[in-house]
């Protein structure tokens, strides 16, 4: 009987501990990307040097302060942001469809602000996507 009591108490303690630990682990919230964006394709060629240059310029201006020099999510503002900034060099990020990256980058959600008004030209937005593809490891 004493053993049973002990094991129940230990189990309860473990359950409580796991809850406490889980609260510290940041849950990766999946992106709910509308179908319209899922099917979008980047109209620019992956090796379009002019667009890569424009994308790099716009990345430096709009994205670098949070996402870092090469997209590792380690920019100077990153420390003050709770959200997962991702790693643009990772296979996981690069495996995403063009339209999904477009949605994440310019429509955004929560801490990731909307950039549609700051970058109104669609060509400039796709140039950033084209540049992000070059960050692949």
């Amino acid at each position: 009987m004493k053993k049973l009591k002990m094991s129940i108490m230990v189990s309860c303690a473990l359950v409580m501990l796991s809850f406490v630990l889980m609260s510290f682990v940041q849950e990766k919230k999946p992106w709910d990307v509308p179908a319209k964006y899922q099917s979008m394709k980047n109209p620019q060629a992956a090796d379009d040097a002019e667009m890569i240059k424009i994308g790099k310029m716009n990345y430096a201006r709009h994205c670098k302060s949070c996402h870092g020099n090469i997209g590792k999510g380690d920019g100077p503002k990153a420390r003050s942001i709770d959200a997962d900034l991702g790693d643009f060099t990772s296979a996981e990020f690069q495996a995403q469809k063009d339209g999904v990256i477009y949605y994440q980058s310019f429509v955004g959600r929560d801490d990731m602000p909307n950039f549609e008004k700051k970058i109104p030209d669609d060509e400039d937005r796709w140039a950033i996507v084209t540049y992000l593809r070059t960050l692949k490891k």
């Binding site: 670098k64 302060s65 008004k117 700051k118 030209d121």
Partner: protein, 292 residues
């Protein structure tokens, strides 16, 4: 037999549709405005061709420290009295039209301004330069006694208008030139009420976010518009050299200049400082944007 006739009609029609599609007018490619010819709406003291996108609120904080003449004793003017500060807000009603208001510590100027860019330089050079029109009206907010005898409210008013032509030459170089007209309703008896000037500006971009900026404003001696036989206390040209860094919503400009004024009419009418090792001063502009 009927089936064959239907088939022939169908084939002929499909051919007709195919031809119609081929003949459809090709969509005309729009030549878009050139990308970011300048980092913000101001270069140092002059305006640039940039008007922010429609429904954008722009806050501009401008600061001019004292002259560097006292050296380390007042940290090269940074701790000197008599600094000039202005805070202004501009709102873009259209992509190429903005209106604004600013308040200035120097002479307690309260200014209202409008900027319009009727056409911008395009990427394919269909339009090779941008054209910008800028105008402001300022109210001198000092005590009545500052305006001498026979004071009237209109004595407080001054105006500045400018036509700016600019071009982004390539990815790292942008230049502009402007012609401007300054009018003060009330000036000292030996000065002219009107002044015509020329402005020149340039930006040399040396990294995706950083640039070197240069600016020159020259008040002209034009006898035909002068009210006097000789020019007394003719204002000196103002020259500025600075460093500019910009992000998505901010532009930071730090520079050395010989003008205390922030409002252009003040510089073109009253700047008496030379660009020398005693009279130059540090200054900065900070721009913050909000999109609505």
């Amino acid at each position: 037999m009927k089936k064959i006739v239907y088939l022939i009609v169908l084939v002929l029609l499909s051919g007709h549709f195919a031809m119609a599609q081929e003949e459809a007018p090709v969509e005309k490619k729009v030549d878009k405005p050139v990308r970011a010819p300048w980092e913000s709406g101001t270069l140092v003291n002059h305006q640039t061709s940039i008007t922010q996108y429609k429904n954008t609120l722009e806050m501009v904080i401008s600061h001019r420290f004292g002259p560097v003449e006292n050296g380390i004793s007042d940290v090269f003017g940074i701790m000197a009295p008599g600094a000039n500060i202005r805070i202004g807000f501009n709102y873009s009603i259209l992509d190429n039209l903005s209106v604004g208001f600013g308040t200035n510590s120097q002479k307690k100027y309260q200014d209202f301004q409008a900027k319009y860019t009727p056409f911008q330089q395009t990427r394919e050079n269909t339009i090779p330069v941008s054209l910008t029109l800028y105008g402001n009206a300022a109210i001198d907010g000092r005590e009545d006694a500052a305006f001498g005898v026979d004071y009237a409210f209109s004595d407080r008013l001054s105006y500045f208008s400018e036509v700016i032509v600019g071009r982004k030459v390539n990815d790292w170089l942008s230049v502009q030139a402007s012609a401007n007209f300054t009018h003060y309703n009330s000036v000292d008896s030996l000065l002219d009420n009107d002044k015509i000037g020329l402005g020149f500006g340039g930006r040399i971009k040396f990294s995706p976010q950083s640039s070197l900026t240069l600016e020159l404003g020259v008040p002209l001696k034009i006898e035909s518009i002068s009210q006097h036989t000789s020019f007394t206390n003719h204002p000196k040209p103002h020259f500025s050299i600075g460093y500019e860094v910009s992000t998505s919503t901010h532009a930071f400009q730090i520079f050395v200049t010989n003008g205390l004024g922030i409002l252009a009419q003040e510089l073109y009418m009253y700047n008496t400082n030379e660009f020398d090792s005693k009279s130059i001063r540090f200054g900065f502009n900070i721009t913050r944007l909000w999109n609505f």
